[in-house]
């Protein structure tokens, strides 16, 4: 007994030592910087900088319509992006998961290839592709499908297109990992018990790929909500993303660092609450229990 206790304590110590570099990293490069952001959000802005005077001014300003509107725009585009990624990504992930090992590796490789090209370059190529005089319009006009160029660049549609393009692999990979773990004889079992293909998918495959779906949603939704580069390069100047507003408040004069900090902090809070909700939802195992006694009583009366 005592010996196992000692061994366990030693194991604990060892795991702390191994975890220390990562914890140290998080502390100094994540937690402390965010603390600074939080502190800044309560300070007074000046044109170039800040004054160390406490105020709640930034949090009052957040509730102005232009910021709320920007937040809603971000939320809307991030949601559409996530849903599209899920709808497009699921069949792909499913197909890869059910392929032969050889094909599987080749397909996964193809999914990862875009990561090899710089993110900014890929977005710039989308600009060339979508521009009024760009590749897409040239092709469509020369084929006679349209006579006037489509104005896609600098619209929300462009933002969605590019974000789906950028984040699709982040949806496919966790979905694949989730679906790949499913024992496919379970689908045979469902069909054996009378479920057709669609019902076996709904009752067995889909619930069992839940982990992958949650992971994919988190990996796509959170970064697309805070996205700055894509709306900045291909989005409309009419609908500013929250990330763009934060950037302008930091670099453009008159600067307002406390407001930018407050916006960042509220975003973090929002995402955290969202994560907690998803987590709770995820862990809500079927709590509906069958009460044997109730049944027996029912039969007796």
């Amino acid at each position: 007994m005592d010996n196992t206790k000692i061994v366990l304590q030693q194991k604990n110590k060892l795991s702390w030592i191994l975890a220390f570099p990562a914890l140290f990293w998080l502390l100094f490069f994540f937690f402390i910087p965010y603390l600074i952001v939080l502190i800044y959000s309560f300070l007074t802005p000046t044109i170039y900088d800040i004054k160390f005077e406490f105020t709640l001014q930034a949090y009052r300003e957040i509730f102005e319509w232009r910021y709320i509107k920007s937040f809603l725009i971000s939320l809307r585009l991030a949601t559409i992006t996530t849903v599209l990624c899920l709808l497009l990504g699921y069949p792909v992930a499913y197909f890869i998961a059910r392929s032969s090992d050889k094909l599987k590796n080749a397909l996964l490789f193809l999914i990862i290839i875009p990561f090899w090209t710089n993110f900014i370059i890929r977005i710039f190529s989308w600009r060339i592709f979508l521009a009024p005089e760009g590749t897409l319009n040239n092709i469509l006009i020369s084929l006679g499908i349209i006579s006037e160029p489509l104005m896609i660049l600098r619209t929300d549609l462009a933002v969605i297109l590019v974000m789906v393009y950028v984040y699709l692999p982040y949806m496919i990979l966790p979905l694949y990992a989730g679906i790949e773990k499913i024992d496919f004889t379970l689908i045979n079992a469902a069909m054996d018990l009378g479920a057709n293909r669609w019902k076996s998918f709904l009752k067995v495959t889909l619930p069992l790929s839940k982990e992958g779906i949650y992971a994919g949603i988190i990996l796509v939704f959170i970064p697309s909500l805070g996205m700055y580069v894509v709306p900045h390069l291909v989005g409309s100047q009419e609908s500013l993303y929250i990330g763009q507003i934060i950037a302008y408040k930091i670099k453009d004069i008159p600067r307002n660092w406390p407001l930018a900090s407050a916006l960042s902090f509220v975003m973090l809070l929002f995402v955290t609450i969202l994560m907690v909700i998803i987590y709770k939802f995820h862990n809500r195992a079927s709590k509906i229990k069958v009460d044997l006694n109730e049944n027996i009583q029912k039969k007796e009366f």
């Binding site: 024992d183 004889t185 379970l186 054996d192 018990l193 009378g194 057709n196 839940k210 069958v290």
Partner: protein, 371 residues
């Protein structure tokens, strides 16, 4: 209750591999029928075609008069107990068993009553709220059976259902399965590579090898009168001896056996079929049918006697296993110990012994061994 008819079914994989080769078979309603054979013999493919997971390349499968050859699995009056149980990991025992009824949109109260009734049959009603990963192998097995039977199928298919259990549990579950079969009374088709399982549980069984059915019969028929060398070897233990028919009489035939060292010995057999004189065939002699003694036994007419030298003695507790050299042949003999001291033969290594057995136990197989 309806019979199952399998008519000239062939299944070809990848364009050339005949997993099942022109199999015809009738399984009677209410029977506990087994497909027995080594892995790759086609028994699982045959089962999957009855379940609907594979479609025969040619041939027909009927239940009663209904042709089910091309029906999808979810329209067949058949349910399966899968080899690794395939319980839904995200559902409780209750939801697993209720699955088929929920798909059929049966009222909730009725589902509950039927699930609990079914769980009582398999003695699992106390585990109703557990998830599959909280159950032992034997418990998962019971749930898999309950989940299949609750749909009141005409046929229950069991694909190596006991393969994942340990020996004691396997023996226990065999009895349970037989009891469940008695209670529900429907046709069970049981697939296994384990000959002891198949012969102990089945009403009838089919011995399969290389995509073909070699023999269909009751367990004792298959054991005592195997028609092929493969069946004789695969089911139980046997001694195979090459022989040639030298004389035929009314109720027995005389055979010349090659002892492999240039010598011959002659034994008799009560005839199961009518061979030609001079015909070459193979004798299958079960080790437990042979008696062994150090002194010459008092011989009767319908017994065979062979002399040999003891090469090996293996004590198994319930019986002793002798390996006796006759010429170049190695004859195995199982000597059952009925009583502690009386049975002691005192036979020793390299001792000369007499082997004797009844003519009826000299079983003839109309095949010649490939040398």
């Amino acid at each position: 209750m309806e019979d199952i008819k399998i008519k000239n079914v062939t299944k070809v994989f990848d364009g050339y591999f005949k997993a099942v080769n022109n199999v015809s078979l009738e399984i009677k309603a209410g029977e506990l029928f087994s497909f027995l054979g080594p892995s790759g013999c086609g028994k699982t493919t045959l089962l999957r075609m009855i379940a609907g997971f594979e479609v025969p390349t040619t041939g027909q499968i009927l239940i009663g008069n209904e042709d089910i050859t091309f029906l999808p699995p979810y329209h067949r009056p058949v349910n399966t107990v899968f080899q690794n149980y395939s319980l839904f990991p995200h559902m409780t025992v209750f939801d697993n068993v209720a699955f088929g009824l929920k798909i059929k949109k049966i009222p909730k109260d009725e589902i509950k009553d039927r699930v609990i009734e079914m769980l009582k049959i398999v003695k699992m009603e106390s585990e109703v709220n557990k998830f599959p990963n909280q159950l032992s192998g034997g418990q998962k097995q019971r749930i898999a059976i309950a989940r299949a039977l609750i749909n009141k199928p005409k046929v229950l298919l069991l694909d190596e259902p006991l393969a994942a259990l340990d020996l004691k549990l396997r023996q226990h579950m065999l009895i349970e399965l037989q009891n469940i079969h008695d209670v529900v009374g429907i046709t069970f088709i049981y697939v296994t590579h384990d000959q002891s399982e198949a012969i102990s549980i089945s009403d009838r069984l089919a011995v399969m090898n290389e995509g073909k059915i070699l023999q269909v019969g009751s367990p004792d028929e298959i054991y005592e009168k195997p028609k092929t060398i493969f069946a004789a070897n695969f089911i139980g233990d046997t001694n195979l001896i090459d022989a040639e028919v030298i004389a035929k009489y009314d109720d027995y035939i005389e055979l010349k056996c090659d002892s492999g060292d240039g010598n011959h010995f002659v034994i008799d057999s009560a005839v199961p079929f009518n061979p030609e004189i001079g015909q070459k065939l193979t004798i299958s002699l079960r080790p437990e049918k042979i008696a062994i003694s150090r002194t010459p036994p008092e011989m009767q007419d319908d017994f065979n006697l062979v002399e040999g030298i003891v090469e090996d003695i293996l004590y198994y507790g319930s019986h002793t296993h002798y390996i006796v050299r006759v010429g170049n042949l190695r004859i195995r003999v199982f000597d059952q110990h009925k009583r502690v001291y009386v049975d002691k033969t005192g036979i020793d290594w390299e001792e000369k012994v007499f082997l004797y057995w009844h003519d009826e136990d000299t079983h003839l197989i109309n095949e010649v061994r490939e040398s």
